[in-house]
C-alpha cells in the first residue's frame, strides 16, 4: 500500500467521527522506484491531505517531507521528496489503525483489508 492510497482510506466503522487519517503501524516497508510524472504529481498535490502524508511517511521511515507543501514550480528537491513519499514507499506488512477506536485494519502482502465485522456496521 502506498501513501497515495493511505491518503484516501477512512475508518468506516459505524458512528466513528475521527475516521481520517488512519495511523500506520509498519512491520515491513519496501521501496519501489516509480517513473516521475510531473502532470500526475501536480494533480495529486491539489488533492492530497498534506499532514496525513507527512505523518504517514514518518511511519514508513521517511522524514524528509517538509511540514507544509510548497508551490510545485519552485523546488525540484521538494518535488522529488513528494514523489518518493507518495509513490515509492510501500507498506507490505503492518496495519492501519483508527485513531478514535483503535480498530486495526491489517495490511498483508501490500493489500489493506478494510472489511468490517457485523457488529461494526
Amino acid at each position: 500500500m502506498r501513501l497515495i492510497v493511505h491518503n484516501m482510506l477512512t475508518c468506516n466503522v459505524k458512528g466513528v467521527v475521527n475516521k481520517f487519517p488512519l495511523k500506520i503501524v509498519a512491520e515491513k516497508v519496501v521501496k519501489k522506484e516509480v517513473d516521475f510524472n510531473l502532470d500526475f504529481l501536480w494533480h495529486m498535490l491539489a488533492k492530497i491531505e498534506w499532514k496525513a502524508l507527512v505523518d504517514g511517511a514518518r511511519s514508513l521511515g521517511y522524514s524528509e517531507l517538509p511540514d507544509h507543501a510548497e508551490a510545485l514550480e519552485s523546488n525540484e528537491s521538494f518535488l522529488k521528496k513528494f514523489h518518493h513519499a507518495l509513490l515509492e514507499l510501500h507498506l507490505e506488512e503492518g496495519s492501519l489503525v483508527c485513531k478514535e477506536t483503535g480498530r486495526k485494519f491489517p495490511v498483508k502482502k501490500g493489500v489493506p483489508n478494510m472489511l468490517l465485522h457485523e457488529d461494526e456496521v
Binding site: 482510506l9 502482502k109 493489500v111 483489508n113 465485522h117 457485523e118
Partner: protein, 346 residues
C-alpha cells in the same frame, strides 16, 4: 421503487404483495448461497426478529464470494484474461475464445459503457473507483485511458494481490491500487470519485439499495456512475414477482456463483431516481453478450480446458456446469445483461 417500500428497507427487490412479504433474510435464504443459511430457514419463516440471522447470512455470503474468487480467479484469468467481464459483440456473431477477438470484445465492453454514460476525455476524470474490481482489468484500462488514479476494491485478497502485481508488471503502480473492502461499506469519504465503476459486480450485492446508496455517496458532485450487471427481466404491469420456474432457474445459478437475489434493470433505475440522480439511462445489452457463453463452454470442453478445470477444483467445475443455465435463462428471456448510468448533481 414503488412508494410502499422505502429503498433503505430493501434487501432484495423481487416485488411482493404486502400481505405475503417475506422477511428480508428469507429472501436471501431462498438463494441459499451458503450452508450457513440452512440453519435459519425453519426458524425465520413468518418470524419478525430476523435481523441477526440476516446480518450473519450477509457475512456468510461475503465469505463465500471471497473464497469463490480466491479459488477460481486463476482459472478465470486463464480463460477470460485479465478482464473478468463479458465481451461486447455484435448480436449473433460467432466467437472463438482462442482468438484475440474475445479480449477486444472485453475492451469494447469498457468503451461502449463509457460512451453510453457520456464519459469522454474532456470530462477530466481524475479519480476512479472500480467496485468489485476482480483482478483489475477495468482499472488498469481506465487509468491508462484517462491518466486517472484508480482504486479497486474486491472481497478477495487473492484477486487484490494479483491485481497489484499486474499493475506493477504494466508500470501502472502509481496510478492504480487495489484493496480488500466491501462495496456496501466503502472506506472512502463522500464525494471522492469522478467516476464510479461497477462492471459485473452488482450481481453479488445482497442489498441493492445499500449498494446503490454507497455508489452514490462516494461519487463526486458532477461525477458519473456506471453499473453494468446481470438482472432478471423487468416485471410487467401488475406482476408482483417472477414466475416460479423463472425463480427456480435463478436459484440454481445463484447457488453456484454466490449470488443473492436478483433484481431488474428497472429496479436500479427506480433506486437512482429515488436518490435524485440525474440523466439516468439504461439499456438491454443481452444480445451483445449472448455469444460469449457458448464460446466459454467450447473452451472448457477442450483438452486444455478440462485439465485446467479439474486442477482448479470443485467451485470451478460447478461454475462451468452452471453456464448452460445462463444460456437457458437468456434464451427464455429471464436473464438480462443491462447497463444503468447516471450523473450525480453538482
Amino acid at each position: 421503487m414503488k412508494a410502499t417500500l422505502a429503498p433503505s428497507s430493501l434487501i432484495s427487490l423481487p416485488r411482493q404483495k404486502a400481505s405475503s412479504l417475506r422477511s428480508p433474510s428469507l429472501l436471501i435464504n431462498s438463494q441459499r448461497p451458503s450452508s450457513a443459511l440452512m440453519t435459519t430457514k425453519t426458524a425465520s419463516r413468518g418470524s419478525v426478529a430476523v435481523t441477526a440471522a440476516a446480518t450473519s447470512s450477509v457475512e456468510a455470503l461475503r465469505e463465500g464470494i471471497a473464497e469463490f474468487y480466491n479459488e477460481t480467479s486463476g482459472l478465470w484469468e486463464e480463460i477470460w484474461g485479465d478482464h473478468m467481464h463479458h465481451g461486447f459483440y455484435d448480436p449473433d456473431s460467432s466467437v472463438q475464445l482462442s482468438d484475440s477477438g474475445h479480449r477486444e470484445a472485453q475492451i469494447r465492453m469498457i468503451e461502449e459503457s463509457l460512451r453510453f454514460a457520456g464519459v469522454t476525455e474532456e470530462k477530466k476524470i481524475k479519480r476512479v473507483v472500480d467496485v468489485g474490481c476482480g483482478i483489475g482489468g477495468s482499472s488498469r484500462y481506465i487509468a491508462s485511458k484517462f491518466g486517472a488514479e484508480c482504486i479497486g476494491i474486491t472481497l478477495s485478497p487473492v484477486q487484490a494481490k494479483r491485481a497489484n502485481d499486474l499493475a506493477a508488471a504494466q508500470s501502472l503502480s502509481q496510478k492504480v491500487s487495489f484493496q480488500v473492502a466491501d462495496a456496501l461499506e466503502q472506506p472512502f469519504e463522500d464525494g471522492t470519485f469522478d467516476l464510479v465503476w461497477s462492471m459485473e459486480s452488482g450481481e453479488h450485492m445482497p442489498d441493492k439499495a445499500k449498494f446503490v446508496k454507497e455508489l452514490v455517496r462516494v461519487a463526486a458532485p458532477g461525477g458519473r456512475i456506471i453499473i453494468v450487471t446481470w438482472c432478471h427481466r423487468n416485471l410487467s404491469q401488475g406482476e408482483e414477482s417472477l414466475q416460479p420456474w423463472e425463480q427456480n432457474l435463478l436459484d440454481r445459478i445463484c447457488k453456484t456463483f454466490y449470488l443473492p437475489a436478483w433484481c431488474s434493470t428497472s429496479d436500479y433505475v427506480d433506486l437512482l431516481q429515488s436518490l435524485s440522480l440525474q440523466d439516468i439511462k439504461c439499456a438491454d445489452w443481452s444480445e451483445n453478450v449472448a455469444p460469449f457463453w457458448p464460446a466459454v463452454i467450447r473452451t472448457a470442453l477442450t483438452w486444455k480446458g478440462l485439465v485446467s478445470l479439474l486442477r482448479s477444483g470443485m467451485k470451478s467445475i460447478k461454475g462451468a456446469l452452471t453456464m448452460p443455465l445462463m444460456i437457458e435463462g437468456y434464451k427464455k428471456g429471464v436473464i438480462k445483461f443491462g447497463i444503468i448510468t447516471c450523473q450525480k448533481p453538482l
